[in-house]
Symmetry: C2
Subunit: 197 residues, 2 copies
Amino acid sequence: MASVASPFDAEKKGALERLARRGADAEVMPVLDRLNGLADFFTTSSCAGRIVVIYLPAVGAKREAVFAGKWHRAVEVEEVLGAIAEAPASTEGALWFIVQAPILHVACRDTDKAVALLRLALDAGFKYSGLKGLETATGRVVVEVMSTERMDVPLAAGSTTFYTDRYLAFLVSTANLLLARGKSKLGRFYEGVRMLE
Amino acid sequence: MASVASPFDAEKKGALERLARRGADAEVMPVLDRLNGLADFFTTSSCAGRIVVIYLPAVGAKREAVFAGKWHRAVEVEEVLGAIAEAPASTEGALWFIVQAPILHVACRDTDKAVALLRLALDAGFKYSGLKGLETATGRVVVEVMSTERMDVPLAAGSTTFYTDRYLAFLVSTANLLLARGKSKLGRFYEGVRMLE
């Protein structure tokens, strides 16, 4: 008789298949591979951190958002200007320049494993990390690994442009710095995860 | 013989004494009182959400930060201009206009209680909420109740000022809207917590 996989192992198989099909940001692959190589963990979603230029028809209206530019690496001012030029023209809403920190969701077999992972995430500088989605039936717990590097700056609203060349240069250099900081935390976390092996 | 308080109840007593001594933001008091009135919970820290003007000598250098203005309510452009005028003059670092969402830390007697509170927080719109600081010895768990309303905008760097009157007007109206949204989530959470009674 074939052995029956536990619900956790069956879910992990599905998550790994999705990851293989859809891929993930290159910068986050090493830590995903290391986590998925451990019997008691698997990753369900991830972002290595990014810089975006995005049009929002209203504050927080994420579903109707239109990406004009999206980068998982340091950007140049010219690239941002190019994205701004391609953003939807509208008399409503606003165009935003946003930096997002790395984020990972990791399913853990039980609470003890989740707490161990949470500790590593906090030690690596992912200060906003926490446990989510505790399923009391199966014991499965999801850890959200999240950091604080963040910037949300309006660039234009309606027909009014707010930025100057100097402002954009400052935004871009600050964004690149925040992105690099997020990646260095990912590196520290990658080293920390070794302790779970 | 006097009954011996559990570690949880002893900690709660200390936390309530600190709260009585230090106080908390007026807008968050009702929800703190409701949570602290429940036997299995107590609050350890809170902020109702705020708008700040802050000088940072380097990106993320929070310890050396100097607050030039801090409000837990809607602000007027003139107030923000007044705060900017009082900020430290420096050739290094930058002056930031920041909106922070409400945040609460709630200690829970055990994991089941924490999961119930987490669910209420997520249902009320506090999307970044999670469990933290699980103490495997005592079973005590802290829930971080946190939301997404956030803005981090540089206003000036070195001797360069980035904002125009129109930009500041847009920032202030967006900030006031984000603050109001955070408070309406606090209201929903306050109603939700009733279900734990």
